[in-house]
Symmetry: C2
Amino acid sequence: MKHIADSTVRRLSAYLRFLEDFETRGLTTISSDELAKRGGTTSAQVRKDLSFFGSFGKRGLGYSVPELAGRLREILGLGREWKVIIVGAGKIGAALARHHGFQQRGFTITAVYDADPQIVGLDLDGLAVRDAGHLERDIHRDHPDIAVLAVPEQAAQAVTDRLVRAGIKAVLNFAPAQLQVPPEVTVKTVNMAMELEGLSFALTNRE
Amino acid sequence: MKHIADSTVRRLSAYLRFLEDFETRGLTTISSDELAKRGGTTSAQVRKDLSFFGSFGKRGLGYSVPELAGRLREILGLGREWKVIIVGAGKIGAALARHHGFQQRGFTITAVYDADPQIVGLDLDGLAVRDAGHLERDIHRDHPDIAVLAVPEQAAQAVTDRLVRAGIKAVLNFAPAQLQVPPEVTVKTVNMAMELEGLSFALTNRE
DNA sequence: GAGCGCTTGTGAATTGATTCACAAGATATA
DNA sequence: TATATCTTGTGAATCAATTCACAAGCGCTC
Ligand SMILES: NC(=O)c1ccc[n+]([C@@H]2O[C@H](COP(=O)([O-])OP(=O)(O)OC[C@H]3O[C@@H](n4cnc5c(N)ncnc54)[C@H](O)[C@@H]3O)[C@@H](O)[C@H]2O)c1
Ligand SMILES: NC(=O)c1ccc[n+]([C@@H]2O[C@H](COP(=O)([O-])OP(=O)(O)OC[C@H]3O[C@@H](n4cnc5c(N)ncnc54)[C@H](O)[C@@H]3O)[C@@H](O)[C@H]2O)c1
């Protein structure tokens, strides 16, 4: 398959969210223009994004809301359950573990780990924090798909190396670090400090 | 000034982080190539990024670490304190309020708000959660620079409208919503569901 | 079933970002 | 002062993403 840009995937994800909203409001068809308005883009962009994967619309009519939603779920790989583990049960890790919004898109948090004996064993809305020493054993046994990294910056690379060695192929990283991984592993980093600095730049260099 | 791409600003932010690391390790000069290796980019990219703002290096030598760090702080607007308020003191809002990592870059959390009377008054590491009803009054009085939005999706647009009307010009949004704001307001959205879906896509469409 | 209004799908054109490649400046050495 | 070595700064070239623009398809009406 042709290479798909990251920005395209993000927009597909946004389109799906809008479609689900339209679906609950009982609408059955939608045009690329309505979808674009909702997502702050253009109708040509919407059609181009979809065209990488096939043609899902009807000329003169638009797209069937449930059909397009289904296609997008398929494209994004949301037709199955993904097992997610969280490493680091501190402030951000605990907030994520107790967030139930990911479940509805098929991301199930199956385990949470920490290295601090004070934290191991704590209950996070029904999930007991496990000992990070058992990470490898558990990964070999349970085969989680995605690891969320919520440990301090200094520990981030070392924990990543352990995860990768144990077979993890996808990491969502919250530490403000540029992680080194082999090419078959995908990392997405959420760097809040960087976002704040982007705002600082915008406020400073407003013309 | 010429328009600067978002991706450029993010890289500048990353360079600054590396420079600070080099600084603590006692290094005094660095080449664009070393900076590039550390940030997973190329030396030409580093030099091009910097060239938008001036020429800070010495041919044959590289860049002075403390000087370049200073210039980057200036460019990013980090030479001052930014007052940040957090709206929504739930799981994610509380985690952010209790995170002390933003302070060292000059982002001071000055207040946290919530609409739930059960939550108003709670102490978050020394910050008392204020009543969201006082948002406008407090913004007029304290002039915060940046608002972090950590309220449920359904409340996000309404709260944003209130913030914008009260004069806020920069918003860091954690709700999975595409916020509508006038052009003089900058919004950055951290959408974790979208990041997870990006990983799902990568795992599914691996060639 | 011809004509009209609407919207898709997609090559072509354009705009934007990254990479190339090299002249020119800086230091060091003799 | 001449020469060798290194690395910047930047136009030009390439690569990538977005926008344009329009032929073609679909449904509706008469
Ligand atoms: N809290 C926030 O709002 C926030 C915001 C932005 C970025 N971050 C980043 O997220 C990461 C976590 O932040 P936090 O505020 O949750 O910190 P925290 O100190 O509250 O939590 C970190 C947890 O990781 C655990 N840990 C340390 N080493 C470990 C290891 N090797 N294996 C397993 N667990 C380990 C610690 O015991 C601790 O419980 C940091 O990198 C931080 O910079 C946090
Ligand atoms: N917790 C997470 O890990 C996580 C992850 C991804 C995204 N998010 C998003 O972040 C947002 C907050 O999530 P959360 O898990 O912290 O939810 P939460 O329910 O724990 O907290 C939300 C808080 O906002 C407050 N609130 C509601 N309306 C308000 C208003 N009008 N003014 C001020 N405060 C108001 C509520 O009282 C509550 O305390 C949501 O949009 C969620 O989708 C959270």
